[in-house]
């Protein structure tokens, strides 16, 4: 439904009334923005010297770029491992053998229900007690990202395979393929293509979740921005705004890519 249907096309009086209301609303929004501006201004957060650090090359090379590398590194490792985890567990959950299907389903449902932060804490603080060695914050973050997002991706893939017409697997069996050939050559390629937008949206979630690394001291963008830059220049608000802008730029382009892919594959 297009939203324009929710109201009549305004007549001359309606147009005038809407103009007045638009002005009132705009003033209201500007007033809110102004209050925020003034409050931050009192704390000197708009002062030029709080913003100029972002024009300096050394701020980018010591804080932002290494932080971005940390974020992207953890996210990339997480994407690859979560993808593998998802594929393996989606296939296992669709197995014909009960003894494979049930444990796989339990694992997937468990990791989907547990908050990511608890997984990261478990890996990070529990590793010494369990294995006798401390694992790095990076490993702990990737561990959490892999198991949590992997389970979600497993469900996305399973839903994709199940939404394929039955005829696909029946035809594949009819030409004499084995179970794993049916899955590998016929079902997975088709469903992966259809599921790509959903998988990419999950990767956006994963990228955002990698910011949790800061809680266990992993060196990523939010940490470098708020604990690095802000500590040096006491410019918390500008730093938060710049870091948020970087995340938004990356995620919006991923989103656009997913839309483009969806448009291309659904025709």
């Amino acid at each position: 439904m297009s939203y324009a249907n929710l109201y009549e096309v305004p007549g001359p009086r309606g147009i005038r009334r809407n103009r007045v209301l638009t002005g009132v609303i705009a003033l209201g929004l500007l007033a809110v923005a102004y209050v925020v501006y003034v409050r931050f201004d009192e704390k000197g957060q708009w002062a030029a010297d709080k913003w100029t650090p972002f024009l300096r090359a050394d701020v980018w090379t010591t804080f932002i770029l290494p932080g971005l590398a940390g974020t992207l590194g953890a996210a990339l490792a997480g994407v690859v491992l979560a993808g593998i985890f998802g594929l393996v567990f989606a296939t296992a959950r669709m197995s014909e053998h009960r003894w494979i299907r049930v444990p796989a389903a339990t694992v997937v449902e468990f990791f989907r229900a547990v908050p990511l932060l608890l997984l990261i804490f478990f890996a990070f603080f529990g590793s010494y007690a369990l294995t006798g060695t401390n694992i790095s914050a990076f490993t702990a973050v990737v561990f959490g990202l892999t198991f949590y997002n992997g389970s979600v991706i497993a469900e996305i893939i399973r839903a994709g395979v199940q939404s394929l017409p039955r005829g696909q697997s029946e035809a594949a069996y009819a030409v004499g393929m084995r179970k794993n050939q049916v899955m590998r050559l016929v079902l997975l390629p088709q469903s992966l293509k259809a599921m790509m937008p959903a998988v990419i949206s999950q990767f956006v979630v994963l990228l955002k979740d990698s910011a949790l690394g800061l809680i266990v001291g992993y060196d990523e963008l939010v940490d470098r921005g708020l604990n690095g830059i802000a500590a040096n220049f006491s410019n918390v608000i500008p730093a938060a705004i710049v870091i948020a802008a970087i995340f938004i730029a990356i995620n919006v382009s991923l989103d656009k890519f997913a839309h483009w892919l969806h448009g291309r594959t659904s025709t």
């Binding site: 439904m1 109201y7 638009t22 938060a240 948020a244």
Partner: protein, 222 residues
């Protein structure tokens, strides 16, 4: 098991905080999310673009950053004081952050719900003489809500799990307690982890089942 039994009371207190955070933020997100949806379909371009910008900013920023921003920006710099008591103040700051983040997802879900309502519904409402707010409140939103109960359920379950991140604004909820327990009872890490994980499973599983049932019962027959 010893640690879990010994500390049972404090663990329950921590989970009670998790539940309170989740419930208060859920109510807030549903209200703000509905308001944002109304803004996004309103006849005023200013409101439409304001709500659109808000949603894409909130959705694409990590929750960790949103909460840190509420703590440092709204709390310390805007000078918003919600209570004299530090713990209560932090609780409400966390609620603001969680609500600000989650309402963007509620708005997205509701908007797709509005898309499922047939055009004829709004046209019929208008021909009865209902204005924009009347059409939205009496005809469109009730049907849109019923269409997106399952996605709203997933959003609220995600919110419940996201309350663990409230620790960055200093709220002592379940994840803080788990970290403390792991540090003091290093020999029982597995039991402690599974105990807390079970706590979240017990919170989220009934929610998932309830929303699944609700969505089947309330589905709009077309």
């Amino acid at each position: 098991m010893e640690a879990l039994l010994l500390e049972g009371d404090t663990i329950l207190v921590a989970f009670w905080m998790t539940v309170r955070l989740a419930v208060v933020s859920a109510v807030g997100s549903l209200l703000l999310g509905t308001a944002l949806t109304a803004m996004r379909v309103s006849p005023f371009p200013v409101l439409r673009s304001a709500a659109g910008t808000y949603v894409s900013v909130a959705r694409n920023t990590p929750l960790t950053l949103v909460l840190l921003f509420t703590g440092l920006g709204v709390g310390a710099n805007l000078g918003v004081e919600l209570s004299d008591d530090l713990a209560t103040n932090n609780f409400w700051l966390a609620v603001i952050g969680l609500t600000a983040y989650t309402s963007a997802f509620v708005c997205e879900a509701l908007r797709s719900g509005i898309n499922t309502v047939p055009v004829g519904q709004a046209e019929a409402a208008r021909s009865l003489g209902l204005g924009f707010l009347g059409t939205l409140r009496l005809i469109i939103l009730p049907q849109a809500f019923r269409a997106v109960i399952a996605p709203l359920g997933s959003i609220l379950i995600a919110l419940t799990k996201n309350t663990t991140i409230a620790l960055v604004v200093g709220v002592a909820e379940a994840s803080v307690r788990m970290r403390e327990l792991i540090e003091t009872h290093g020999d029982q890490v597995i039991q402690i982890f599974f105990g807390f994980a079970l706590g979240f499973v017990l919170l989220c599983l009934p929610m998932g089942l309830a929303f699944g049932r609700l969505s089947r019962r309330l589905v709009v027959a077309r």
